[in-house]
């Protein structure tokens, strides 16, 4: 962790440092109870907190060893991270063995699978410290200027609140119970190899331009692939949608029919299903244009290959990951789980993930753990003063570079569609197979 020296130490540490005692040391001396009242937040560490283990299950983008290490350094209970190899395994584990998990982070598009299951814990707004510092995009679904954010696709607000404590139904308007704590989000767009294309690309429609036949890739997986394709088809005016993030059966039919035509004409080189594949397709020159994740673009660039990632005129495809706790938690363990969820957004982890190109839901906290130059580059669209390092200390941008697409709100303020799980998912999955078979 090369950045560790440039970032302030974690708040809790400095708080206990002021008293000259670490919390662990207090427990060892057995004077915890007496000292507790003299320190803030005594409730959590007055008891046998060091025996508590919180199991966090996520995927490779969230369960990063460096973050686990830092969490264990900052918190007095143990945090164990487990990485699910894919979304299917992840969701299955949560649905079928919820008791083996304490905390998890998931794309909000998965939340529909948890409706009425009683697996997730309603997180009381009052237990989450940073709700008032959280961006309004998640709190009430609006941009900072007060305008409503796009609701096409599975917008964050669609599964942010439980209607009541029973956690059975979502509410579109704020309540006292969160489905999860907002974690990371981003605006995805097309990754482009400018050296191979040699002209500006400014529309999703280019994905289906015959000029690039055999040189574009779609994201594999029904819900992401269809969102990318819908952006392109709508841009070209070939299909019109009421809500392309939640299509009707007729819209699905029209979309699949068009996609089959394009596939038969050899438009698609490949579909990619994970980070490495998308990097490999782009870096090897197999593909010149494809929908990508920001860190994958970063990875291509770290290899010295030009790859741009600017916004398209139709907007970005937004996505959002939140952290939820499981419903079986109670007592001290429940408190620890909530404490951990608070820690995740207290800044250090948010800064770490920001250096990968994602955004954190409490930028004010992440800012404290980033240099002004880093924050300027990642969040404010400013030119880098010095080299910009990735979270693992590797130089990824030289001084003078600016982030593609500019500042946070230039990107997140222009969402054309959110990642999606449609109401007609069953019909879509069936029709999508006709597309794959064509």
């Amino acid at each position: 962790m090369t950045d560790a020296t440039t970032t302030p130490s974690y708040k809790y540490k400095s708080a206990s440092a002021k008293t000259g005692l670490s919390r662990r040391a207090l427990l060892k001396t057995g004077a915890a109870a007496a000292a507790a009242s003299a320190l803030p937040a005594p409730m959590l560490w007055a008891q046998n907190i060091k025996d508590i283990t919180i199991t966090h299950i996520g995927q490779s983008y969230s369960t990063i060893p460096q973050i686990a290490e830092k969490a264990n350094e900052d918190l007095d209970f143990e945090v164990v991270m487990q990485t699910a190899p894919d979304t299917t395994t992840h969701v299955n584990r949560l649905l079928t063995q919820p008791d083996t998990v304490d905390v998890t982070d998931m794309p909000n598009t998965n939340m529909k699978y948890f409706l009425g299951r009683g697996v997730l814990m309603p997180v009381p707004v009052s237990a989450y410290k940073y709700w008032d510092q959280t961006l309004s995009l998640f709190v009430d679904g609006t941009y900072p200027d007060g305008t409503a954010a796009s609701l096409e696709g599975y917008a964050p607000i669609k599964s942010q609140y439980w209607k009541d404590e029973s956690a059975q139904e979502f509410s579109l308007t704020p309540t006292d119970y969160l489905v999860g704590v907002p974690m990371y989000y981003n605006a995805d767009t097309l990754g482009i190899r400018p050296d191979l294309i040699g002209r500006p690309i400014d529309s999703w429609g280019e994905l289906l331009n015959p000029e690039f036949a055999g040189k574009v890739a779609l994201q594999d997986g029904v819900s992401t692939g269809i969102a990318d394709a819908a952006m392109a088809l709508e841009a070209l005016g070939e299909v019109t949608y009421v809500d392309k993030g939640n299509m009707t059966k007729a819209e699905i039919d029209a979309t699949i029919e068009k996609l089959i035509e394009y596939k038969k004409a050899g438009q698609f080189r490949s579909f990619w299903s994970n980070f490495d594949q998308s990097v490999q397709l782009m870096a090897s020159g197999e593909v010149e244009l494809q929908s990508m994740w920001s860190p994958a673009v970063t990875e291509v660039r770290t290899r010295g290959i030009e790859c741009t990632y600017q916004g398209m005129k139709e907007g970005y495809r937004g996505w959002y990951i939140m952290m939820s706790a499981m419903n079986h938690l109670e007592g001290l363990k429940r408190d620890c789980a909530i404490e951990y969820m608070n820690w995740v957004n207290a800044g250090w982890a948010g800064a770490f993930i920001s250096r990968q190109g994602f955004y954190n839901s409490v930028p004010d906290n992440a800012k404290e753990f980033m240099t002004a130059d880093e924050y300027g580059y990642w969040y404010e669209g400013k030119a880098a003063q010095g080299d910009i390092l990735n979270p693992f200390g590797k130089v990824m941008e030289k001084a003078g570079a600016t982030r593609d697409g500019g500042a946070l709100w230039d990107r997140m303020g222009n969402i054309g569609i959110w990642n999606t799980l449609m109401d007609e998912d069953r019909y879509l999955v069936r029709q999508w197979q006709d597309f794959l078979s064509a």
């Binding site: 969701v91 699978y113 596939k263 080189r269 490949s270 090897s284 197999e286 069953r426 999955v429 078979s437």
Partner: protein, 299 residues
């Protein structure tokens, strides 16, 4: 069982009739088979008749999964492609496998060299599956070795794109993977043919072609059947190679099941799995008519 035996006094052991003894002997396997195979299969069968949505299966009768399976063009497409893969891979691995096994068994005279060459066939398997799949890109890709050679020789001006992320690429990977089991099964059968028989045929004036047709082929039928079972089940059950090599653009029966499982749609996936299982078992049953595995193992 051991507890029952130790509890019984030694002189009473004879009381156990041979029939009961055999039942007891098969009991452990029968229990495992019932618990781990038959019951799960029965559950899968039941699930295929249920209604579903968003990772839930409802206990309501729904025949849609089966109706779609038996009436849709998709099913035809999926099986047409899957069988096309099976047929091409089987023919190519059979020809390659036979030639290599024949050469190793009857033309390589030194036993040590034969062993060394056999081991060399396994070299591609020294590395993991994912790495092997990625390694095809530098060979078959747009900027891969083959395209560079073709363009260097001015045979093409544009890179040939059907080499990678295509049905062709899937076939190449299958053949690369499945030739070895075919060679091994056939070479194993050939090793059991006494050289004296070949010698006698030669002495009687038989040509090499006659020896292959009239002696070797009939005697290696079990090897062919076992190798074929390996190839057929591997291709029909594969989802990994087809996904990697086609860039998810080719849909086989296995891929279709995976797509549905990934979308948490269990009933249609269950229906497809059962049909696939029945088909694969029928093919295996058919192939086993050519090979008496029990006899093979006894030799």
């Amino acid at each position: 069982m051991p507890a029952a035996q130790s509890a019984a006094p030694p002189h009473q052991r004879q009381v156990l009739s041979p029939k009961v003894a055999s039942w007891l002997q098969v009991a452990p396997m029968a229990v495992i088979f019932t618990l781990m195979v038959l019951i799960p299969l029965a559950i899968i069968f039941v699930v295929s008749f249920l209604d579903y949505d968003f990772a839930q299966v409802f206990p309501e009768l729904y025949l849609g999964s089966w109706v779609d399976l038996f009436t849709s063009q998709l099913t035809l497409n999926l099986y047409a492609l899957t069988f096309k893969f099976v047929a091409i891979v089987w023919v190519v691995t059979f020809v390659l496998g036979f030639c290599i096994a024949y050469f190793l068994s009857f033309h390589v005279r030194s036993g040590a060299l034969r062993l060394l060459l056999m081991a060399a066939i396994a070299i591609p398997f020294w590395t993991s599956g994912p790495i092997r799949m990625v390694s095809w890109v530098p060979l078959l890709g747009r900027e891969g070795l083959i395209n560079q050679a073709l363009m260097g020789l001015h045979l093409t001006s544009e890179p040939v794109t059907w080499l990678m992320y295509s049905e062709f690429a899937v076939l190449v990977a299958y053949i690369n993977l499945l030739t070895m089991p075919m060679v091994a099964a056939m070479a194993n059968s050939m090793a059991k043919i006494p050289h004296s028989v070949i010698q006698a045929a030669k002495d009687a004036g038989a040509s090499e072609g006659q020896i292959i047709r009239d002696i070797i082929f009939p005697l290696i039928k079990p090897g062919i059947a076992i190798g074929s079972i390996f190839v057929v089940t591997a291709v029909m059950g594969d989802v990994f190679i087809v996904k990697q090599m086609s860039g998810s653009q080719v849909n086989t029966v296995g891929m279709s099941i995976v797509t549905e499982l990934n979308a948490f749609m269990y009933p249609p996936a269950a229906a497809k799995s059962i049909v696939l299982l029945v088909i694969v078992l029928s093919i295996v049953g058919l192939l086993l008519r050519f090979a008496d595995i029990r006899k093979e193992l006894q030799k």
